[in-house]
């Protein structure tokens, strides 16, 4: 009797790495399952064969992180909007159709129809690799297949979608004519205590995260009466614990205020990412320090410690998309998670949707 071993028959990372480079691919996996790392590896493997490969990301911070991760290899990495906007104009000489004042809410049907009149420009790349695909509109995958590249490798997590334009795995699969998804099922990033908080906000048809790390500290909910206290806490944490620290704030004004006071207190890197004045190219995400950013730009990132402020933006999760945002945010930190209510305490309704004190300690 001769049987293969479990690693030889199970999918996951191995199946992703073994899918021939001229075949399209759909990979689905929860946060922390290593999608981005696999996407970069595949991009390198394709680039090594001399093919033109393009990596598409959801936001500029993820583009930056990938740029830093892949080091000197100089992969072409672009956000979807930047790339498609330019590609469309190159092909048609026109701007991609959008309703007035709705910059990024493109009218895809019209755009695709206009392209039918310009068949001469063939695909711009041999292989397209898309990360955080669930946040992109499904029509993009049709555009990609028809115009950008004959082979498309897509990495997605449908439970992490944070935009109205997001797509389900089925929609992505149909629009991109992709094979069934290969699932990555294990989370290697977060401690079980952090996963418990994230899973509290989990919704959708797929099971919750399956955590593979040993236990750590219980995440905490802290109340501060003013931002100065929060700033002192973050500064102290950086001095005693160090590592990479993320701070989620929604209002740029709060972000800049924190940035100013942290700079004054902390001997180390303090950066604020403001999508209105993109400066991600200067943020050394992977050197120890503090990065202040909002929920849209934290997508795809990971930190040792995360402080989440302005929770009232997402709580009490009256809309499903808010739950998904909480799930996505809570699965960013590897080791420590703090939720901070400042300056006013959370409403009873907001408190009611948070996990109980056994999962999220109150201090």
């Amino acid at each position: 009797m001769r049987l293969p071993s479990w690693t030889e028959i199970t999918g996951g990372p191995r199946e992703v790495l073994e899918t021939p480079l001229d075949q399209s691919l759909l990979v689905a996996g929860p946060p922390g399952s290593g999608k981005t790392a696999l996407a970069i590896r595949r991009a390198h493997m394709v680039a090594d064969t001399g093919q033109r490969v393009l990596m598409i990301t959801f936001n500029r911070m993820l583009r930056r992180a990938i740029g830093l991760l892949e080091g000197t290899r100089a992969l072409e990495v672009e956000t979807m909007h930047a790339h498609v906007g330019r590609d469309f104009t190159r092909r048609t000489g026109a701007l991609i159709p959008a309703p007035p004042n709705r910059g990024y809410d493109w009218i895809w049907g019209e755009a695709l129809a206009m392209l039918d009149g310009h068949p001469e420009a063939g695909p711009s790349h041999d292989h397209l690799i898309v990360d955080e695909a669930q946040d992109l509109p499904s029509e993009f995958f049709r555009y990609a297949r028809l115009h950008l590249a004959p082979v498309v490798s897509v990495f997605a997590d449908e439970n992490q979608a944070i935009t109205r334009q997001s797509s389900t795995l089925q929609q992505i699969r149909r629009a991109g004519a992709l094979p069934p998804a290969i699932m990555l099922v294990d989370n290697h990033r977060n401690t079980p205590e952090i996963v418990a908080v994230a899973n509290h906000f989990h919704a959708g048809r797929l099971p919750t995260l399956r955590v593979r790390r040993p236990g750590g500290d219980r995440p905490r909910l802290v109340h501060h009466s003013d931002l100065g206290q929060t700033c002192a806490m973050i500064a102290r944490w950086f001095t005693t614990t160090g590592g990479s620290i993320g701070v989620v704030v929604e209002r740029n004004s709060t972000g800049w205020q924190l940035h100013r006071s942290l700079r004054a207190r902390v001997d180390g890197r303090v950066d604020m990412y403001d999508s209105k004045h993109p400066n991600e190219g200067r943020i050394e995400l992977f050197t120890p320090g503090i990065t202040i950013l909002n929920h849209r730009s934290i997508k795809g990132q990971e930190f040792d410690t995360l402080f989440v402020l302005e929770l009232e933006q997402f709580l009490p999760c009256s809309a499903a998309v808010q739950r998904q945002i909480m799930y996505m945010i809570c699965s960013r930190p590897r080791d420590y998670l703090f939720m901070v209510s400042v300056p006013s305490a959370l409403s009873a309704a907001a408190l009611a949707v948070l996990p109980g004190p056994d999962v999220l300690e109150r201090v």
Partner: protein
Amino acid sequence: MGLPSWIDTIRRELIVAPIRDDPRTLDPYEDPLGVPTRIVFNDVLGGGQAEFDEAWHGPRGKLSGADRALLYGLLILKGHLQELTAAFDMLTDRAEIWDPVVLDLGCGPGTGGLALANALGRDAQFTYVGVDRAASMAELGERLMQAAQTLGWMTSVERFWLRDTGELNWREPISWRPVIIIASYLLASPTVDARALVNGAMEQVRKIGRGDVAVLYTNSVRLEVNHQLPRFRDCLIEDHGFELIDDNEGRISTGGGQNERRLRYALFFRQAGRTLED
């Protein structure tokens, strides 16, 4: 390869010794519990497919359901344990199968659970669901596993014993835990319908989650006992999206020299998440 020593120990303690010490037995391998071995094999055990819960009335006295399960343990179990430990050793070779759920269909005395525990290691964590219509078999299985625990094996194994897969009352939320389904020498039974068996098991798998699922089939090489294998295979592949990894005849060595057993085996696999989209 003989039995792993810890399994051999519990089999001797809980099966061989009680039969040897039973007043009805003169020689445990000639007339265990007072019945000639050939009659035990053909009539008491029905080649492994008997009604193990019913008392058996023979020419020299009565055997209880528990007696019949013990005799199964004496005359048939060992070979099946050897096959399944060999199979799981290969399947787990340098691989990690983390916290699986095991559905052992027609489990007898927990044969598949013991073999898998041996392959995964002393402290391995898994959930074992033994399904057998004979309570006498499950009772023997539970005693074997308790004895294993006193030897430091299977201490992190959660156990359930059911008469039918439909009795499984799965309370955990759906998860990515891998599922291993075992059908060892079950499909020869005239009481089993291959399609109903597969459908019943897959209904439970849906409640458990969306993880990887492997199905291991073993049986003797005799043609007639495998007559349901094509239906079993078609149902897994066509109705439940499995792929066939192997379907073959093979042999395992059972100790020094020329000793070996021949068997028919098949392995099926379905990747995590595959049910969602296909």
